[in-house]
């Protein structure tokens, strides 16, 4: 946490926003180092220690970082889309992964247990960035309801040239959230500076539990799906600052976990689980268009699933549905129970216009069991 009152703050807002709060009086959330810090250990499976099954995927799994002690850097990565167009992205990645080519879209998943203290460091060394007034980056822990000092919003004083984010959450937050850069968000979110932020329930010994929410059911596998869309015009080198390019949004590519998944034979991610098990699917809505999730079986029929959480908070009652729409900035957690006979299902997301719901495109994944 580091607040600034200098020129790092958007000068158009500094006068009235900063006057509203006595920044020096803002209390920090207690931030002592957690004795169980894993030192930024990276795991690359999609399951955690207490799950029964180990999922396999055909695409590189998104790294899961322990938010108790993690240092993130920002790197540019380039992706070649299905039409051959090369699009640059900015992503957060674990310190040390950039040089080895380990950075990818989306940014790593951050994971934190209830009662644990997050200690997330943003290291701006060599980070690609814009010029003033939108230089630098922050981490906004979207949905954590942290204080202004930890919120990562430059217009209310957040440092943009490197910072540490420290916070704790209670058991209401067990579920899916997201983190993203909050500098010139219209540009930086689109550029890929987003990832899943998962809060796990803990037992009395501090072990992470595989329950969908506090007091909720267990699951056997978990599958994070970060949903995003791409307007390549926003990614152009000259799309910086206050530009009219940001007054319109024309998405051209649609992603789950950074992959296009244009058909059932070219999926964004192939997930394999055992029959009869329960798979938790976490939908993290970072796109700027609406996204409707559904599951189709091998015959094309809809499979129902049960939604437990909205924005990481338990619903008043779980809802069994055949689709759920994730609006920009929203998250949902659901569980689907697999049959006892083998088959392949196709979880998929159809991205739709915020004007009239007309479909732009569908991204397919597969779930074999």
């Amino acid at each position: 946490m580091k607040l600034t009152t200098s020129s790092l703050v958007n000068p158009r807002l500094r006068g009235h926003v900063l006057a509203l709060a006595t920044l020096s009086a803002i209390a920090m959330i207690a931030g002592s180092a957690d004795a169980r810090s894993m030192g930024g250990t990276t795991t690359t499976t999609t399951t955690t220690t207490t799950t029964m099954g180990t999922a396999t995927t055909t695409t590189a799994a998104i790294p899961v970082l322990d938010a108790r002690s993690t240092t993130l850097v920002v790197q540019q990565v380039n992706k070649t889309m299905h039409d051959g167009v090369n699009v640059p992205f900015w992503v957060f990645c674990a310190n040390g992964m950039g040089g080895g080519g380990g950075c990818q879209l989306p940014s790593p998943t951050l994971q934190l247990g209830v009662g644990q203290t997050a200690n997330i460091v943003l290291n701006m060394m060599m980070a690609p960035q814009e010029a003033a007034p939108y230089q630098g980056h922050t981490i906004h822990n979207h949905g954590m309801d942290v204080s202004q000092a930890e919120d990562g919003v430059p217009e209310t004083g957040a440092a943009v040239l490197g910072d540490t984010y420290t916070y704790k959450v209670d058991s209401r937050y067990v579920g899916s959230h997201m983190y993203h850069c909050h500098v010139h968000t219209v540009k930086h979110l689109e550029m890929g500076m987003y990832g899943a932020l998962i809060i796990k329930d803990t037992d009395s010994a501090g072990n992470l539990l595989n329950v969908i929410n506090h007091g909720g059911p267990t699951y056997d596998y978990e599958w994070n799906m970060v949903l995003s869309a791409v307007d390549p015009a926003y990614h152009a080198n000259n799309a910086v600052g206050d530009s009219t390019v940001f007054s319109d949004y024309n998405p051209k590519y649609y992603l789950i976990n950074g992959n296009e998944g244009l058909s059932k034979t070219a999926v964004a991610q192939a997930f394999t689980a055992a029959t009869g098990k329960k798979v938790a699917i976490r939908l993290v809505g970072t796109s700027s268009v609406n996204a409707t999730f559904s599951i189709k079986n091998a015959s094309g029929g809809s499979q129902s699933f049960t939604v437990y959480n909205d924005d990481g908070f338990a619903l008043p009652a779980p809802q069994t549905v055949s689709s759920v729409t994730v609006s920009p900035g929203s998250n949902y957690d659901l569980i689907v129970t697999l049959p006892t006979t083998s088959s392949t299902w196709y979880p998929q997301v159809t991205y739709t216009s915020v004007r009239n719901g007309i479909a732009y495109g569908t991204v397919y994944t597969s779930l074999a069991f």
Binding site: N10, R12, L13, H16, V17, L20, A21, T22, A25, I26, Y134, H140, H142, G143, D145, S147, Q148, D151, V153, E155, T156, R172, H184, T185, V186, K187, L189, E190, D231, Y234, D242, S243, T244, V245, F246, S247, D248, Y249, S288, V289, N290, D310, D311, G312, F313, A314, L315, P316, T325, S327, P328, G329, S330, V354, R355
Partner: protein
């Protein structure tokens, strides 16, 4: 201009007085200005209760109470036909001819917030600025969302909207035909303002002491769905498009669909803290591409 008539003791001596509100609205063409970087002056059509001030975007707030009676006399001072519909409340979608007027009388049985708008011309008239909010409060003046419903300490009305200046407003204001199949709004407003103004406007910002509940009565008068993200705390959705949400759902981002409404309760969590509340959809955060001069305001803990 509104007048209230207190209709006392219609039934029993102990009965709560029912209020009747009467309004005159005038439809006029004119301009509307979004201030600050990226802002502009846009040709609009709007409702107003002050002829000398020109069209208001959004139109004047109409107020009533549960089981209240409202009379709105709408004078069409424009050169085109228009109408006045309170979505979910009134059903007369017939037009008011240019130069004509029409009287609408209706009751408001359910507390909440409602969108009133001109529904003619394939949404062009609404997009041009002909919209506003009807607020229906609990009877008796209690600060509850509805009688017997959840309490609040302070309230705001948020009307979000969008305008496509080159393709809709510039064309329609000159009598041209808008190609409604193409809509690429480049201005996004909170209570008719860009974010720079809406973050200072004391009728818009959520300001309260720790523990207090702010009620935001949200009307999406635009043609784009609004995905609004609140910093600093989760909130409870207590009403969605007129339907009470009991028990309510906790969330940090709500999707207020085009033409629909939502009521949320937000509890102030931090003293001396300032947070943004903003749309989470790329271009809708801007005016003409200028960041944060779109749909945004502030949440301020005192």
């Amino acid at each position: 201009m509104k007048t209230y008539i207190c209709l006392l003791g219609l039934l029993l001596g102990s009965a709560m007085p029912a209020y009747a509100a009467s309004y005159n609205l005038y439809i006029a063409a004119g301009t509307h200005t979004i201030n600050g970087a990226g802002g502009t002056t846009i040709n609009v059509w709007g409702y107003t209760d002050n002829l000398s001030a020109g069209p208001m975007v959004p139109g004047p707030e109409l107020a009533s109470t549960e089981n209240g009676s409202v009379t709105v006399t709408v004078h069409n001072n424009d050169t085109r036909p228009h109408n006045f519909v309170v979505l979910g409340v009134t059903t007369d979608t017939g037009s008011i001819v240019a130069g004509g007027s029409k009287i609408y009388t209706f009751t408001t049985p359910n507390a909440g917030v409602y969108l009133y708008a001109d529904t003619l011309n394939s949404n062009v008239n609404r997009e041009m600025g002909l919209y506003g909010a009807l607020v229906v409060r609990a009877a008796g003046g209690a600060k509850v969302v509805w009688t017997g419903g959840p309490k609040y300490d302070f309230e705001r009305v948020w009307i979000t909207s969008d305008m496509d200046k080159p393709r809709w407003n510039d064309i329609a204001s000159k009598g041209g035909t808008v190609n409604t199949s193409v809509y690429k709004p480049n201005y996004f407003m909170m209570n008719g303002m860009g974010g720079f103004d809406a973050m200072r406007d004391t009728n818009t910002t959520l300001v309260g002491s720790v523990g207090q509940y702010g009620l935001a009565r949200i009307v999406n008068a635009g043609l784009f769905d609004e995905s609004l993200h609140f910093h600093g705390n989760h909130m409870q959705v207590v009403m969605e498009n007129g339907k009470r949400q009991v028990p309510s759902e906790w969330t940090d981002t709500i999707n207020v669909k085009a033409g629909q409404t939502m009521l949320i309760l937000y509890q102030i969590k931090f003293a001396k803290n300032v947070f943004p509340m903003h749309v989470h959809t790329a271009q809708m955060e801007t005016s003409g591409g200028v960041y944060l001069n779109g749909v945004a305001t502030l949440i301020i803990g005192q």
